[in-house]
Structures are given as C-alpha cells and as structure tokens.
C-alpha cells in the first residue's frame, strides 16, 4: 500500500492505492479527507488514515506534504530568532533592497524583518568575493552574545557572513562554537541554506529557515513517532518545493526547502503525466478556491528557480527566499473570488475571496457577494442538482441578493453580469498564463493546457480558446492531483553554487571540476552512489545581470560540451529576449540536480467494460457558453466514461468535485488512464 497526504488550509487529503504484487500495477486510487488540525497538523494526517481504514502497518511508502512551514511564516508563529552577521552588516536584513513597489504611496512602510535589531549580533571577519579569507572570525565576543540571546529567550540563531557562498570557513567556525556553547539551540548558517550570492536574500532565507526550524523539527518528529507507533516501518518522506521528496532527516535540517511543497507536487505530477501520454510541452493550471497557479513545462521538465518570495505583490516587496522552488505564477483568482465594482464603474473579480466560510453566496452561509462559482451556477455550468457534490441546494435567494447591486450599477441582467464575471476571471487567468508563456517567448500553440484543482476543468477550455492552445487535458484525479502527485516523485536535491567563470574552452577544466565537486557532495549527502544527475548553468552575456538557465550539453566523456552549450544559450536568449549578442558568455551559477529514483508501480489504466457512451449520459441541460451561445448540453458522468469514448460539445462532464465545460465546436476523447482530452476546433 502506498499513500500520500497533503495538508491544506481547510482539509487534509489522503490518497492511497494498493499495488498488485503480480502485475506491479497499482489498483484503484482512493482518497480520504479530514479537517486540518492546527497547530497539531499530524493529528489530521492520522485522522485521514483512520478514516481510510488502512492499517498503518500495511503502508510500504508514505509521502507527506505539509504547509507547516508556510503557515508558521505567514502567521508569524515561528520562534524568537537571533542573527549574527559580518561586522557592519547587521542592518542589511532591515534595509533589504530599498525597493518600494507601491510607487506613488508616499507614506510607505516596508515589511518588518523577522529579527529585531537588538537580537542582531556582529562579529569581526572578512572574506573577499574571490573566497580569500582576509580575516578569520574573532570568536571572543561570542560567549557574551550567546548569553544575551539566551536571556532574551532566543530559540534559533542564523549566521550569515558576506561571501560565505564561496568560502564558508568563518561561518562554520561560528556554528561549531555555538554548538559547543549552547548545544540545545537551533543554529543554521547561510552556506547550509544557499550557495548563491546576494547577501540580503541569503541572510533572509537563513533567518526564515531558522525561525521555523524548531517547530518543523518537532512536527516531523511527532509524525514519525505516531506513524512508527502505528507500525510503519519505512522512511517518512517529506515533499519539497523543488518537486522532489526528501527524507525526514534532510527535511528537518533545512525546513525552508519545504516552503512551497503543495503547488510543486501538482506541477510535477502534471509533467509526469505529460511524459506518459506523450505531451511533454504543457501549460499547467491549478485553480483552487482562492488562487490560480500556473507554470510551463517544456520537454517534460518543470522549471525550477531560486528567485522566490513570500508576501510579495504589486504593493509589497515581500521577503525573498533563495531556495529551489518550481517556477509558479500565482494570482488571486479562484472559485471563491469576489466580484466588485470600483468608483470608475469597472467590474473586478478578486483578489478578495469568500474562502470556505462564508463561501460563495449560493452556499447559503451568509455570503453576500457574487463569486466566480455563483456566476458559473447562474450560467448553468454547475449543475444545481449536484452543487457541492450534491450535498447542498443552491441558495438562489442569496445569489439574487448578491447579484442585485452589480446589476443595478451596470444596468445589466443577472445572466449578463454572470457572463461578465466569468469573462473577467478568465481574462485575469489568461494574463497569468501569458506571463509564463508568450511573455517568455513561447507560442501557446505548441503546448497543451493541463488543468486541475477544483476549478481547473471549469475554465480551461475558455482559457485555451483565448490563448489559442489547441488541446486541453483534464487529468484523472484532478481534484486531488497534488496529493496524488507525491506518489510519483523521486528523492531530489538541488545544488546551486555561484561561481563566476566564462563559457569558453579555456575554462573547460574549471567547469568540469566545478560539477565534479558538486556531484561528490551530493553522493556524500545521500550517502550512496546510485545518484542520477542533471547539469544546468545559469548564464548571461558579459555585462548583463539576469541569467538564463540552460541544461548543459554534455559530450561523450561527460564534460560540458562548450560549443553546443553556447549554441543552446544563444538560442534560448534569443527566444526569450528577441536578440543575441556576440559578447562572451558568463557562467554565474552551477546548478546540479541530484535524484534517487523511488520504485513506483505503473500508472493504473482505467478499466474498459464495453459500456455504451449513452450509459454515461446523465441528462441534458441548458448551459450558457457565452460567446458560443446558450445550448442544450449533454451532461456526462465522468466516473462512467471509459477509455476510447469520444463525443462532441456542447457538453458538461461531471464528477463529484469536477465540472468540465465543453462548448459546442470542440470534441472530447478519453485516454487509457481516464484523462479527458478536449480538442479545440480550429
């Protein structure tokens, strides 16, 4: 039995299946759901296991994705943290980058650092940008500093010195001395968290990781203990932001690497499914209740970046986190997004959301605002008979009351307003999809759109029409795709090392030895030698700042093929920025991805019983398809559709928590895994 659990804001999901020992095939994917139980999140996980009836002792593999890190950060529930920096630089974390995205706000305040100034100590030491130790660290003030931290109730210490990404000896000396003086305290040095330059970003990342370190450690240990008590005899794996899993041990050492683990697993699952069905180029869209997230998968690969921020938006600089995170654009637009009109009579949708409570007006829990879900209900796209999985009658009076003020302001009918809400929500999501595709030089016509999450199937076809994507895929298990995705991942570590050099033959040995050292480090960290590697270089033309990540082309002897890699860089630069230069190419970061494959069963194929298509039809219903008009649409029961079936729109495919809208000109096929493919009419 293999299982994974994903802790969300409201619910904790469990996905599990049996593996047939004869065929190696996995059986039917089943799910269980329980309330999320803050602050003891592990209880919710145990509750889902109890609900599922699966004895813990029968589990062969258990992967877990947790929001414990991001919650502790956004709710400021971490521990009191101190910081030790190079002398003269304790204010770097407060000065930050000095930027003010809220340009015309002349009463602006930047976000507060996670360490107050009196808890920031300084030590005399200096390393140059070339990694030469100019002054060894003077440890003599440390005992008094530690005493003061202890007296102030500090529970974690971050150490961040200038240029430690290239020469960490001074940081190591401080960490060793702190461990000697105060063994119980959590201590993290910047070089353990990031080997990239930019002192503010690296320092802040180290501080945030230290801030959540004790509570994450306790959480993972409690979960391990509870599972062990239940008879689980295998390692616990934790989902990471880089789309891989890590052993509980590795995850505890640097908790910040878990910060965006939730979205990562869905995206990696999409890439995995894409490879299985020969669709390696995907635009991926995950629409939830409050936000929509999207990314682009090229040649089956998810793009991973270390330029990640929390709490950043058009007004707020947020906090940078320099850790490997799958590249995602997230916007405040989901099923619960609220429609409103500004003083200039413009209709907006989101970013404010009705959330789970009160939720959309139709829930009848006192929601007074029209949401995207309400608009889809008004247009007949959501089946009133199976609203919220059939558990609830839509509260039409509440819907009418929510729409009335919008209708009055715009002087339009309820249906016209609903169409407007859906169109504007779609335009917002289209803008986000453009950021990951056309804005980076990709032509959406070369991609398929894979959509999941509660609202993915509802909007996907309209978005594909707008972007001219010819093909939409709604994957099987699309409403629990993130949790399911964890069962498809491998162990993964990302090693990034800032190391300036040129991409030219004179530097071939330097490139080779740089990667060789990183591979050794990876094998050492894993403690095994069956490690798979991918080699990337972040590069730019000399004089530029921002880099482009290129998969290094390797020659037969395993070293970097410099000419071929340069060609790949020129081509990628031109694709993204419209021109190429004759300038020399500079390498900024070496990026090594080190993976250890986890044995996985074959994906389950959906059984074919020979059922007639007509047996999957529930009814016909009048549905408003906006530009395509109002039509009597055939309503299919998604659970009864079988591989090989095909039909035309107008149609709606319904599952208990999925509604897939197919306007008239388009056609649908079902593949062997049960994925829905919508082929757009030209």
């Amino acid at each position: 039995m293999r299982a994974s659990s994903d802790v969300g804001g409201t619910f904790t999901d469990l996905v599990y299946y049996q593996v047939d020992p004869e065929t190696g095939q996995c059986g039917e994917v089943r799910t269980a759901k329980a309330d999320t139980t803050p602050p003891n999140f592990e209880q919710g996980v145990l509750d889902t296991l109890a609900k599922s009836g699966v004895p813990i002792g029968e589990l062969d593999f258990f992967a877990h994705g947790s929001t414990v890190v991001i919650n502790a950060l956004t709710e400021r529930k971490g521990v009191k943290t101190a910081l030790i920096t190079t002398r003269g630089f304790r204010d770097v974390i407060e000065i930050a980058r000095g930027n003010r995205p809220d340009l015309f706000n002349f009463n602006f305040r930047k976000p507060k650092p996670f360490v107050e100034r009196y808890l920031r100590g300084e030590l005399d030491e200096r390393v140059t940008y070339r990694g030469t130790i100019e002054r060894r660290v003077d440890l003599s003030p440390l005992p008094a500093m530690i005493d003061a931290f202890r007296a102030d109730g500090v529970q974690a210490i971050a150490v961040a010195f200038l240029h430690a990404y290239v020469e960490p000896a001074n940081e190591r000396a401080v960490v060793a001395e702190i461990r000697r003086l105060w063994p119980e305290v959590s201590v993290l040095a910047s070089h353990e968290v990031s080997r990239e330059w930019r002192e503010y970003e690296r320092t802040n990342t180290t501080v945030l990781s230290a801030y959540v370190h004790p509570i994450t450690q306790r959480y993972v240990e409690r979960l391990e203990d509870r599972l062990k008590d239940g008879g689980y005899a295998h390692p616990l794996y934790m989902m990471q932001s880089n789309g891989g899993i890590a052993t509980a041990e590795a995850a505890k050492a640097n908790p910040i690497a878990m910060v965006e683990s939730g979205p990562a697993s869905g995206i990696f699952a999409a890439a995995y499914m894409g490879r299985r069905i020969d669709e390696p180029n995907l635009i991926v869209l995950d629409i939830g209740g409050t936000t929509a997230k999207c990314t682009l998968v090229e040649d089956g690969e998810v793009k991973v970046t270390t330029e990640y921020h929390i709490e950043r938006d058009a007004r707020n600089p947020g906090y940078p986190i320099q850790t490997a995170v799958s590249e995602i654009v997230e916007i405040g637009n989901g099923g619960g997004s609220i429609a409103w009109i500004d003083e200039g009579d413009k209709l907006h949708v989101g970013p404010r959301s009705a959330g789970a409570r009160p939720g959309p007006a139709a829930y009848g829990h006192g929601g007074a605002n029209a949401t995207t879900t309400d608009a889809n209900l008004v247009l007949g796209r959501i089946d009133p008979a199976s609203f919220v999985g059939g558990e609830r009658e839509p509260d039409w009076a509440a819907v009418d009351a929510a729409f009335a003020p919008l209708q009055a302001r715009l002087n339009l009918s309820r249906e016209e307003v609903a169409r407007g809400i859906v169109r504007i929500a779609n335009a917002n999501m289209t803008a986000a999809l453009r950021l990951v595709s056309t804005n980076k030089g990709y032509d959406p016509r070369d991609f398929a759109l894979m959509a999941f999450g509660g609202g993915g199937a509802m909007h996907a076809v309209a978005l594909a029409e707008e972007l001219r994507v010819p093909h939409v895929i709604v994957p099987v298990n699309s409403s629990v795709f993130s949790a399911w995705g964890m069962l498809l991942t491998d162990l993964r570590r990302d090693y990034l090392q800032t190391h300036l050099t040129r991409l030219e033959s004179a530097q071939a040995a330097e490139l080779a030895s740089g990667f060789a050292a990183m591979r050794l480090q990876a094998m050492d960290d894993y403690g095994r030698d069956d490690v798979g590697f991918e080699h990337f270089l972040d590069m730019r033309y000399i004089g530029q700042e921002h880099t482009v990540k290129i998969s290094a082309v390797r020659s037969a002897d395993g070293d970097v093929d410099i000419a071929a890699t340069a060609d790949a860089f020129h081509a990628a630069h031109e694709k993204r920025f419209t021109y190429r230069l004759d300038n020399a190419i500079e390498v900024v970061n070496f990026h090594l991805v080190a993976t250890i494959a986890v044995n996985k069963p074959e994906l389950a194929e959906k059984p074919v019983t020979g059922r007639a298509l007509g047996d999957a039809v529930i009814a016909t219903r009048s549905v408003d398809f906006d530009q395509h008009g109002i039509h009597d649409a055939t309503i299919y029961d998604g659970l009864r559709l079988e591989p090989g079936m095909a039909f035309q729109g107008p149609a709606i495919i319904q599952e208990p928590s999925v509604t897939c809208v197919v306007p008239p000109p388009h056609s649908v096929t079902i593949d062997k895994y049960g994925n829905y493919h919508i082929h757009l009419a030209a």
């Binding site: 002398r87 003269g88 630089f89 204010d91 770097v92 407060e94 000065i95 930050a96 980058r97 000095g98 930027n99 003010r100 995205p101 809220d102 340009l103 015309f104 706000n105 002349f106 009463n107 305040r109 930047k110 100034r117 009196y118 140059t128 940008y129 200038l162 240029h163 990404y165 330059w197 930019r198 002192e199 970003e201 500004d342 003083e343 200039g344 413009k346 209709l347 715009l410 169409r419 407007g420 169109r423 504007i424 335009a427 917002n428 803008a431 453009r434 804005n439 300036l500 033309y541 000399i542 004089g543 530029q544 700042e545 921002h546 993204r576 920025f577 419209t578 021109y579 230069l581 300038n583």
Partner: protein, 561 residues
C-alpha cells in the same frame, strides 16, 4: 460588431498589462546595473497622438517622460508619411518632451494598423554612459549641456527596419563603455518591440474600432477614478517654500516655492517665484517639473490605479520658463533629479499638514547619486559604479518613518548587493548600517538614514557625488524634530577627513575610505508624547541613544529601565 462593455474592459486590462510586459523585457535584457538594479527606467504606450495609455515604472521620476516625448516627436515629424512601420526613434534632449538629462534616452516605436498609425510604445532608460567630460556623464561642475555628453533630438535609429549604422558607430566612438551603452540601446528597442507586437495581437483579436474605443475609455476611466478622489480632498490654497542648497559651482541656495489651489474640479500647482536657472548642472527642465507635480498629485488622489493620461486631466501646472525647474537651453542639467525631487517635496510639504495620514513628514529628499570610477587591479578594466542611496523617511501621524528607503523619485529601485558590488568594482564595502545622527525625534519618530563605507581597492579611484538636503533638514510635522543631513566624507591615509556635498572626480587612493551619510527623516508630534514602551524599545534597538533620550525625549534611560 457591438462593443460590449466587458470586451472593452478586457482590452483595457490588456493595454495596462503592456506596461508590465515591457518592463520585464527591459529588466531582463539590460546590460547595466543602473537599469536592472536601480530600475532607472520607464516603459509604456500612448495612443497615436501621445496620450499616455499605460506605463510600467521602475521609478516615479519618469512619469511625464513618455507621453510628452511622443508629443514632441510629432512636432519634429509633422508629415505623417515621414513615420513608417519599422521606424525606431531615439531622443535625449532635455528641453523638449521626454527630456530629463542626457543619460536618459527615450526609444519610440510607432505601431501601425496597415498604413494607419494607431499607437506608440516608448521607453526611457538611464544609459551607463553617453560620453561628455566625466565618466558616467554626470558632474557637479558642467556649465553647458555640451560638457554632459551626446545629445540626440528625435533621431531615427531604425528606418523601416534598417538600423542607422552611422548613428550606432557615432555612439560607439563617443562613449567610454560602448558595449554597455549599445546593450542598453538594444534593451530599449527590444522592450518597445515587445509592446508593439502585443498591440498588434490585440488589433488582430479585437479589430481597430474596439481597440481604439478601449483606449479612449481607458483614459476616461483614469479621469473618473481621479476625480472621485479629488472631491474628497480638503479645498483651499496651500503654500510652502524650501531650498535647493547649491549648484556645484558655489551658487545658491535656490528657493523653490509652490502655491496649491484645490477645488472640486481641479488642482492648480503654481511654482511661480522659484529661483531662476543657474550656471551649474542643478537645473531641471519643464518635463521634469511635470513629472514631479504628477507624482504628488497621484499620491494624494489615487495612487493605486495604473497611471494614464486621463488621471492628469484635472491637474494644472504653472511655472514661468527659465527657472531652476523649467530650465532652457543650454543650461547643464545632469543633476536635474535633485530639483525635481525638491519640486515634489515642496508640493508634499504644502499638503502634508492637511493630509497627515496620506503623507509623512520630510524624507532624505535626495537620490544621493554616487559615482566612483577607476581601474580594476586584477584585469586593468575601467569601472564606473553609479548607485543611488537609501535614507530615512518621515513619520506620519500614526507610524514611525521607514528606515533606509530610496527617495520619492525612485521606486522599484534595488540597492546593489555588496557581494555583486565587490565582484564588479575595485571597492570593498566596510559597513552598510543605520547611523545615530541627531534628528527625527517625535511622538512618531523619523526613519533612520544609513552610513555606507566604500574602501578603495584600486590604485586610485574618483568620487563624484551630489546631494541636496545638505543644510536644510528634512521637515517635521506637528512639533516633531527635523531630520538630519546628507553628506560624504573621505577618510585619508593621514587621518584627515574631508567633507563633500557636491564634488566631481575627487581622487581617492587605495585603502582610503569614502563614507556617505544619508539623512534621517523628520519626526511627527512632540517627542515628549512618545509612547514610553516604544521609546525603551528604540533605545534597546539602538535607534535612539541614551543621550538623545534625555535631550530630545526627556527620559533618563537608567531611571526608566
């Protein structure tokens, strides 16, 4: 086809998004840190006649530079047949639309539907180098524009898709870092073309009629949103006065005066009575003044919606020509941003007393631009470092001022990380920290300025530095204490310390230290009324010294703790 309102809304949003799309294209292709770290640029689109539709800003200081550039260009090319598909124009002349100083170059690309001009995409960016007497093309001692670099007046860089090779070669031969400069030029053209291509897509998708209607409606929307805020502002006449201290040649101080009249229908900002233009380069042209007035107007009306030409219809700016903020040729202008900021700040000072929650007290009021050039010992290459500096912002009625923030003319401006800085320039940073100069006490405390040490590691380096607020301190509100001042020091081998507020290419030898102090912001309210716990916290955090606690707040730390 009928133009339904939601389609028009969606086109409007797509036009606004153009600003961000071009902004990203620019930031990712630039060759120079002044663009990618300090984001000293703006991108945008206008309609065919130069009404601003959307603008992506790195800084506030370019708010009036895109639309006015199109208007001036159309005066230079009155024959419609002289503007063709494939053309790219460039300009940096300060005295016409789009003008600031010569380092900031405007790139303009016309967008056509067939033969019909329908829009422009425009950007303006600070190039690393445009030649002239000093590295970085900025000085404190120029007396004429001719010393400040190359000047382009609406030239065709591309003619129907063909690059003007002679012009490119001319630039290459007359600047110190030709690869960087030409790279900046490419970035500008690439960003403008990204926008032009996107407008072409909107045209294909929605047709000319709907696109043009969306443009008109977008401008009207900006006006409606702004007027809705204007009626909420206090009505009346508000005045303020301040100074720009010096022009680099020993002249000054120069008074800046404003008289703001707010009615239900418009805001009139009259700068009459401001000092006449001067010999040194601390002059700002009229475009700069329009930018400054628009910035504060936007801050007090609707700072949230994207700026477009409609937002500024209720704003009227008055200033006679030939002042320090409406300078005429051939006045040198390389430090134009200092009087521009002073023009924003004095307008701000006039309204802050009546808008105490919207506007904080006075801030450092300087870009504090610091340029250091020299030769890197490891490879013999010339370097030219230029960066603005963060300082303290003022307190408002309910909050302390922000510590270490770029001035109001900046925005999405990033300081250069020391780790990048040291790899690129022959300088080592010894400290980057808040200082404890006196100033900014109040019931709400002014934000902290910083002290920054650059230790020279080259044989010799040259400092060019210019600041204002070197004498007149950031203003306080409601009985608070004024902030501190901006200045630089050079700590010499012999232990002597030189103080500078305006200097050009002062030699500094290896291991000597250039130390820069930026001002702390003004306080708000009587310091004696500061919350006791907040003050104790300030002392513990080192934001207020024990001595300042006694003198400014009347609190003896030993007793209090």
């Amino acid at each position: 086809m009928q133009h339904d309102i939601f389609t028009i809304e969606i086109i409007k949003d797509a036009i606004v998004a153009l600003g961000d799309e071009m902004f990203n294209a620019m930031i990712r292709t630039s060759m120079s840190p002044i663009i990618y770290e300090t984001t000293d640029f703006a991108v945008g689109a206008t309609d065919a006649t130069g009404n601003l539709l959307a603008q992506g800003n790195g800084v506030t200081a370019f708010l009036a530079t895109l639309d006015t550039a199109v208007v001036s260009l159309l005066e230079h090319y009155p024959d419609p047949a002289s503007i063709r598909p494939g053309d790219v124009f460039m300009s940096n002349t300060p005295y016409e639309g789009g003008g600031t100083h010569l380092s900031d170059v405007v790139i303009l690309v016309p967008v056509f539907d067939g033969e019909q001009l329908i829009a422009w995409t425009v950007n303006k960016a600070h190039w690393t180098e445009v030649g002239g007497a000093q590295p970085g093309s900025v000085s404190t001692n120029a007396t004429e524009i001719y010393q400040e670099g190359l000047r382009f007046t609406f030239l065709k860089l591309y003619d129907r898709g063909e690059v003007n090779a002679a012009l490119v070669q001319l630039i290459r031969d007359n600047v110190r870092l030709p690869d960087s400069t030409i790279g900046d030029m490419h970035a500008g053209v690439a960003a403008a073309r990204v926008g032009a291509r996107r407008i072409g897509e909107l045209l294909d998708r929605y047709g000319r009629d709907q696109l043009l209607e969306a443009m008109r409606e977008l401008l009207d929307y900006g006006e409606r949103m702004t007027r809705a805020e204007l009626v909420k502002l206090p009505k009346g006449v508000f005045e303020a006065e301040d100074v720009v201290e010096e022009d680099g040649l020993g002249n000054g101080p120069f008074p800046i005066r404003v008289r703001v009249t707010i009615t239900d229908d418009e805001m009139i900002v009259d700068y009459s009575g401001t000092a006449l233009q001067t010999t040194g380069p601390i002059n700002c042209s009229y475009t700069g003044l329009v930018t400054g007035a628009r910035c504060l107007f936007k801050a007090v009306t609707n700072p949230d919606i994207p700026a477009n030409g409609g937002c500024f219809r209720p704003l009227r700016i008055v200033c006679p020509p030939g002042t320090i903020i409406s300078a005429q040729a051939p006045a040198p202008v390389s430090l134009y941003y200092e009087p521009l900021i002073a023009a924003i700040d004095v307008f701000w000072k006039a309204l802050a007393p009546v808008l105490p929650r919207r506007l904080s007290a006075g801030h450092q009021r300087t870009v504090g631009a610091t340029f250091i050039s020299g030769t890197r010992p490891e490879n013999g290459e010339l370097f030219v470092m230029g960066e603005p500096l963060v300082g303290g912002w003022g307190a408002s009625s309910d909050l302390d001022g922000d510590n270490g923030q770029f001035c109001c003319a900046n925005g999405e401006t990033y300081n250069i990380p020391c780790e990048l800085f040291e790899s690129r320039y022959a300088l080592q940073v010894d400290q980057y920290a808040f200082h404890n100069a006196d100033g900014g006490a109040g019931r709400q405390r002014g934000g902290k300025g910083v002290v920054l040490d650059y230790r020279v590691t080259a044989e010799e380096a040259y400092l060019t530095y210019a600041t204002s607020r070197s004498e007149a301190r950031p203003w306080a509100l409601d009985g608070g204490q004024q902030g501190s001042t901006n200045y630089a020091e050079i700590h010499r081998h012999d232990g002597s310390v030189e103080r500078h507020t305006m200097c050009t290419t002062v030699p500094v030898r290896r291991d000597e230290v250039i130390r820069i102090y930026t001002a702390s912001g003004g306080g708000h309210g009587d310091p004696a009324q500061r919350d006791r716990d907040a003050l104790l916290r300030d002392i513990r955090n080192g934001y207020v010294t024990a001595e300042q606690a006694v003198r400014d707040y009347g609190v003896d730390v030993a007793e209090a703790m």
